[in-house]
Symmetry: C2
C-alpha cells in the first residue's frame, strides 16, 4: 500500500493513528468513524458528519503519548465544544492536526495485534484490552495464516472469555467479525513484511456487540525484517525411512568387546531384540566380538548396508561419515556426544558435519542421540542397556536420549505396554521432529504419538506437519524449556505480551497437539491409549467404594479436569438401584460398596460397570476397586470381559486398600487390555488429557 | 448510627449513595469529596468547594440505576457546565437532588464489600472492580473480624495482584489504607447486624496510589438478620479426651461371634492392636466370643467403663445410649449407620439421639462413623478389618469413615509411616472437627494434622480453633463438596460473587490451613512430614540423571508449584564441578549422571547431595536415583546418613529406571527415615504443599 511505502521512504517507524486505522480498514477490520482536520472549522464540519458526541485528539508525528500531554478531549457534544477543545489541542507543541472521532459507547475492551516472532514468523494476538492489558495478561497467540477455526479457537480460550457473553443488557460479542479481524491481522503479517507489528487497543465492543478498533498503531521496520521463516527440512524419502526403521543390514562403527561400553551394549541390545537383518561390526582393532567378525574399516564391508550406527569419539565422526558416504551408505545414527552441546570445538565439529551432510546428501540422526528403536523390525540403535523392548503401538519422539534409555526401561519394567518407534533426536543436525512426526503420521504401526521437545527446529514446518498428523492420530507433547517474558520496555501491548512461551503455546494448540505438563503423563496417557480408544466425550462415570472418593473425585473432575460426571439414563439408574440396598439412592458417581457388600465384589462391581458402560450419557468408566486380604482378591475376569464387550468406551481401573493386591490386579488386568492406575486421581487426569486430544483431532478447519 | 435507624424506620432497604459513603467514612474508609445539592446554584457552589472538574449524579430514592437513565455527567469543568448538566439531571423523573463529586483521576478499579454468609456470618470481599467485576471473578473473602494480617494476605492473593504494583507512572497502591478499609468493612459487619451488605465499586486508586470509594451501597435488612453465628460446641474435657483416646476400659455393645460382622471385627481389631485396657462385650445373646464372656446388657457390666462402642441397628441405639448414661458411661462411639444420611425415619432417630445427648450430657462420636484410632494407646474402635495399625505422629480427622478403613489400609500396606490418632466424624451429632482439632493441637503424640471434611459443623468456632492450632502444627485439609455459585440475580457485585466455595476457601486460608485438592496428597504429604521437617523456604535443589528431567522439573517448579530452583553458593558449585567431567558446567538443578558415571552412584550422588544439603541457598533436596539391573542396586546408606546429618533440611528421593529396584529402594529408605516417591513430580508437589504450610504457620497476625 502506498501509505506504507511513503512512510518508509520518509524514514518513519510507524503510521499515524489515522493512517493505521485506514490501513487496517483496508483489510476489513472495523474501525471507528474518524477524520483528520487541519483547523477547528474543519473539525466541526467533520464532527457533524461523524455524528455527536465526538472525541478530539491532537495529531502530530512526534505526538506519541497523547494522554500524557492532555491531547484528548472526550464526549464533545456541540460545535462550540469542538471549537473550544480544538483550539486548546492545536496549542499543544507538536500538534499538527486534529483527529475527530465518533465517541464509541461500550465498556468491553479487547486487544488484538500482530507481532513477528523469531521462531514462528508473523503471529496474531487476541485478549483482554484496555489500560490494564498488561495487568491481566490474558492474551493468546496464533501463527499466521489463521484459519477461521484457529481464530475461533483462540477467541474461546482466553481466561476471561465471559466478557464475550451478553451482559448488562448488551448482546454477546459478534464472534464472526472478531474472527475475521484476527484472520485479517494474519494476512497483514504475510502480505506486508515491512509491518513489524500492529497493535489495536482497545478493540471496543459497541452496545450492539460489534467490535470496533478505537485506537491502532502500525509499526514499520525499514528494510524488510528477516523473514524469520526457516528453510524447509528435507522430508525423509521412502528409502530413508526404510533404512532407519526397517534396515536389512546395519553396521556398528566403533564396535567394542568391552561390556559396559556403548559400542558393546548397542550390539547386545540389537541381539536381545532378535534383529533378523545382517549385522556388521567395524573397529580398527579387528578380531571378533560376541562371536562376530570385526571389520577394520567401513571400506572393508562386503556390502553397502542400509544403516550405520556411529559410536566413536566426536573428533573421529567427520571422517567416519565421509567413509560411510564413500561406501554408499545413505543413513547414519550418530550416537557420539561431544558436539555443540559441549564446547566451541564441538560446535566447529558439528559445523563440519553439517557441511559433509550437505555435500554427500547422507541423512543423519543426531549427533548426541542415544539412538532409536523400531520394535516391529526388532531393531534398536540404543546403547543404554535395554534388553528386549516390548512391542506396541505407541511411538515417541524425544529431544534427549532419556526416552530411549531409562524411561523406556521404566516402561518396560513398571508398565505393561509396548512401543512401536522411539527416536532420540539429539542435536538435530539433519533430521528433526518434523520429519519423524511426518513419518509417524503415516506409519501403520503407530497408533498414538508422544513428543518430548525442548526446541522446535523448523517451527513453521513443524506446525504444518503437526496440523495434518494431529487430525488422524493423537499427538501429545511435553514441551520443556524455561520461559522468556517479552521485553518489558516494549512500546506496544502486543509486543510486551509476546513471550516465547505464549507464542509456542498458541502454536502447539494451533497444531492440534495436546500439551501436557507432567513427565509421568508421557507414559500414563500412553498406557491408556495402548488398549483403549479415545473417549468420545468428557462425560465420566466412576464407581467408588467410599463416599469421600465420590465427593473428592467429582470435585476434581469439575474444578480441575474439565470432565463432566453427568446424570445417568433412567434405565441405568434403575439397574443400579436393583442391585443396591433400598436406603441408598443410586446415581452417578456410583456409590458401589453397598452393592458389593450385598452381592459380592464381582457381581456388584460387574453389574454396575456393565450398566454404566451401556449408558449413552457416559463416555468413559473408572471402577475403583477396594482390595483387602479379608475380602479376598476377586476374580477380575469380569472387567476384562466388559472391556472387550464395549471396545468403543475406555475403562480404566484404580484402587483403594491393600498395596500388594493392587500390584496383583495390575499384573492381571494390564496384559489383558485393561489399564490400571495406582493413585485414584491418575485415570481422571489421563481422561482429561485424552478428551482434549479428541477435541483437537476433531477441531474445525 | 442514626442514619441506619432512620432508614430502617422509614422502611428503606438501602442507604443512598451519599449516605452510604458517609456511613463508610465514619469507619475510616476513604471516600471521594462530595456534597448533596438541592438545585443548580447549590451544586455550582459545592463544585467550587470540591474543586474542578466534578461529576454530577442524579440522586433520588427510587433512582437506583443512574447510568441507564443518563443520570451521570462526567468531567464538568466550569460553573456553566455544572448548571447546564444540573438542569438536565433534575429533569429526570425521580431525581430529587444532585450529588456533586470530585472527578477522581486514576485507572485502577478495585472492589470491596461486606456480605453475610449463612455459615461464617459477616465476610469481607476484595478484588478487581469496575464494570467487569463479574467477568474477571477475581475476588477473595475473609471472615470478620479481620486482623491486619488477614487483610494483607487477602490483598496479596488475588490473581491479578499486579494491579497493585506501580505502573504507567503511578506508584504502587497504598496497601496500608487498603488493609484498613477491609478491616473496617469487617467492623461494620460485626457492629451493625442490620447492615446486610456493603458494596464499594469502584474503589478507585488515585494517581498517588491512595484508594478512594467512588461509589458505595449499604444494604439494610429490616428486622435483624439471624445472627448466622452458630452456637459454640462444647469442648472436650480432659476426662472426655482420656475416655476416647486413652480409655482404661471399653465395652463393645453389639459384640458378635460371626467373623465379617462389624461387631466381631471391631473386637479382632482391638486385640490385633494389643489394647492393654479392659475389654467388655455386650450382646443379648450372651455366651462367649473369642474366649471372652459376653454380658447380656450394659447394666450387667461389673464396672463403669470409660468408653462404649455401639455397633447395633440404628433403631436400637437410642435406648442403648440411655442405658450407657444410666450406667454412668460418659463417652460413646456410635458406629451404626442408618440415621440422617439415609431417610426421614433415620432423621427422626438422629433427632431423638440429640435430645438424649442434651439430657444426659454424654459425649458421642458419630453416628455413622467407622470409628477412631489411638495408636499410642493401642486402641481402635474401627470395625473395618485393619490388623495392627502402625504407630506414628500423623493424625487424621475424616468426615467419612473412609480414612479409618481402606485408606488406612493402603497407608499400612503401601507406605511406611504410622499414625497417632484417626477420627471418623460421621454425622457429627455431638463431637465435630473443632473439638478434635483442638485436642490434636495439644496432643504431644501429634506432629501434623490432616483433615478431610465435606462440611464444617460450627464454622466460626472451627476458624477460631484452627487459627490457633495452625500456628503450632502443620494443618492440611482436603475440603470436599460441590460448589454453589452466588445467586445470579444478586443486586450487588459482592453478593453476586459470594459463593460458598469462595467464602470457604477464604476462611480456610484465614484459618492458616493449607488446602489441597488431591486425595492422594493426604498420605503423600503425611509421609514426607513423618520423618522430615517442613522446608524453611521454597528453594529446591534436585539431582537428575537426565537432561529432560532437569528441564521438565524446573518448569514444573516455577510454573505450577511456586518453588524456586535457585543458584547455588559458589563453593557448592565448585564442589559439583570437581566431581564432574570438565565439559559439563555444573549448576542447580544438578546434572548428576556424568559424575555418577565417573565416580559411581554412591560417590557421585553422595558428594553432590552433601554439597547441596550444606548450601545455605537451598531449603530442600530431591535426589532422583537412576536404578537399573546393569548398574546394580547401590548401597543407599549414604542417603540415610546424609538425612541424619542434616535433620533440618528435607530430602525426598525419587527414581528413574527399573520398577522392581524402585520398590526395593523404597522398602530400604522409608523405614530409615527417607521418604521416597514413585513418580518424579510427587516430591515437588509435596514440597509445594509443605512450603505453603510453613508460610501459613509463620503468617503475620
Amino acid at each position: 500500500m502506498d501509505v506504507i511505502k511513503e512512510a518508509l521512504a520518509r524514514g518513519k517507524t510507524a503510521l499515524t493513528e489515522y493512517q493505521s486505522k485506514q490501513f487496517c480498514a483496508a483489510f476489513g477490520i472495523p474501525v471507528c468513524r474518524e477524520a483528520i482536520a487541519r483547523d477547528v472549522t474543519a473539525a466541526a464540519n467533520a464532527a457533524r458528519k461523524i455524528g455527536w458526541p465526538v472525541v478530539l485528539k491532537a495529531s502530530g508525528e512526534k505526538l506519541l503519548h497523547k494522554t500524557e500531554v492532555g491531547g484528548i478531549a472526550l464526549n464533545l457534544k456541540t460545535e462550540a465544544e469542538v471549537r473550544q477543545a480544538g483550539e486548546r489541542l492545536l496549542g499543544i507543541p507538536g500538534c499538527q492536526a486534529l483527529l475527530v472521532q465518533e465517541m464509541v459507547a461500550g465498556y468491553r475492551e479487547l486487544v488484538c495485534g500482530l507481532v513477528r516472532d523469531d521462531q514462528f514468523g508473523p503471529c496474531v494476538m487476541f485478549g483482554i484490552g484496555g489500560v490494564l492489558t498488561e495487568v491481566f495478561q490474558d492474551v493468546t497467540f496464533r501463527v499466521a495464516p489463521l484459519s477461521s477455526g484457529d481464530a475461533r479457537q483462540m477467541i474461546a480460550e482466553i481466561r476471561n472469555r465471559k466478557i464475550l457473553e451478553s451482559s448488562r443488557g448488551q448482546p454477546a460479542v459478534d464472534i464472526e467479525i472478531l474472527a475475521k479481524t484476527l484472520v485479517a491481522l494474519g494476512e497483514i503479517g504475510l502480505q506486508y513484511k515491512s509491518v513489524s507489528s500492529v497493535d489495536i487497543n482497545p478493540l471496543l465492543i459497541r452496545p450492539d456487540g460489534r467490535p470496533v478498533a478505537v485506537d491502532a498503531l502500525v509499526s514499520l521496520e525499514s528494510g524488510e525484517k528477516s523473514p524469520a521463516i526457516k528453510p524447509q527440512g528435507k522430508p525423509l524419502s521412502a528409502q530413508t525411512r526404510q533404512q532407519f526403521f526397517t534396515p536389512e543390514s546395519v553396521v556398528i562403527i566403533g564396535a567394542s568387546g568391552t561390556p559396559g561400553k556403548a559400542g558393546h551394549e548397542v550390539i547386545r541390545n540389537i541381539l536381545a531384540n532378535d534383529y533378523a537383518g545382517k549385522l556388521y561390526l567395524v573397529s580398527p582393532k579387528g578380531g571378533e566380538i560376541l562371536g562376530m567378525p570385526v571389520y577394520p574399516s567401513v571400506a572393508d564391508l562386503p556390502e553397502v548396508v542400509d544403516l550405520a550406527v556411529v559410536i566413536i569419539p566426536a573428533n573421529l565422526t567427520v571422517s567416519a561419515v565421509r567413509e560411510c558416504a564413500a561406501k554408499g551408505i545413505g543413513s547414519i545414527v550418530l550416537a557420539a556426544g561431544g558436539f555443540s552441546e559441549v564446547d566451541q570445538a564441538g560446535e566447529r565439529l558439528q559445523q563440519e558435519l553439517t557441511e559433509v551432510i550437505r555435500d554427500t546428501g547422507i541423512r543423519v540422526l543426531g549427533p548426541n542421540t542415544s539412538g532409536h528403536t523400531s520394535t516391529p523390525h526388532h531393531f534398536t540403535s540404543t546403547f543404554f542397556p535395554q534388553g528386549k523392548i516390548p512391542r506396541g503401538h505407541i511411538s515417541y519422539i524425544a529431544q534427549t536420549g532419556n526416552f530411549a534409555t531409562h524411561t523406556m526401561r521404566y516402561i518396560a519394567t513398571g508398565e505393561n505396554f509396548g512401543v512401536a518407534r522411539v527416536v532420540g533426536l539429539g542435536n538435530k543436525i539433519d533430521i528433526g521432529e518434523s520429519e519423524i512426526l511426518d513419518y509417524y503420521g503415516e506409519d501403520p504401526e503407530t497408533k498414538a504419538i508422544f513428543l518430548y521437545l525442548e526446541s522446535i527446529k523448523r517451527p513453521r514446518q513443524f506446525l504444518k506437519v503437526a496440523r495434518r498428523v494431529s487430525r488422524v492420530k493423537p499427538v501429545i507433547m511435553l514441551k520443556g524449556g524455561s520461559t522468556r517474558e517479552g521485553a518489558l520496555a516494549a512500546v506496544t501491548h502486543t509486543a510486551a505480551l509476546a513471550s516465547d512461551e505464549r507464542i509456542t503455546d498458541g502454536a502447539i494448540r494451533q497444531a492440534g497437539i495436546t500439551r501436557i505438563s507432567k513427565y509421568s503423563h508421557l507414559f500414563l496417557a500412553a498406557k491408556a491409549l495402548t488398549s483403549m480408544p479415545l473417549p468420545r466425550g468428557n462425560r465420566v462415570s466412576f464407581l467408588a467404594p467410599s463416599g469421600a472418593m465420590l465427593v473428592v473425585l467429582s470435585d476434581l473432575c469439575s474444578q480441575e479436569l474439565a470432565l463432566e460426571v453427568p446424570d445417568l439414563e433412567e434405565t441405568t439408574r434403575q439397574r443400579l438401584q436393583e442391585i443396591s440396598p433400598a436406603w441408598i439412592r443410586m446415581r452417578n458417581p456410583v456409590d458401589i460398596w453397598p452393592a458389593a457388600l450385598t452381592h459380592g465384589i464381582e457381581y456388584g462391581y460387574g453389574e454396575a460397570t456393565r450398566a454404566v458402560m451401556e449408558d449413552a450419557n457416559i463416555d468413559a468408566v473408572v471402577p475403583i476397586l477396594m482390595l483387602s486380604e479379608e475380602v479376598g482378591m476377586p476374580d477380575l475376569n469380569f472387567l476384562v470381559s466388559l472391556a472387550q464387550k464395549y471396545p468403543e468406551k475406555p475403562m480404566y481401573v484404580t484402587f483403594s486398600g491393600e498395596k500388594k493386591l493392587m500390584e496383583e490386579a495390575k499384573a492381571f488386568l494390564e496384559p489383558r487390555g485393561v489399564p490400571t492406575f495406582l493413585l485414584i486421581e491418575e485415570p481422571f487426569e489421563v481422561l482429561s488429557i485424552l478428551d482434549r486430544c479428541r477435541r483437537a483431532m476433531e477441531r474445525p478447519e
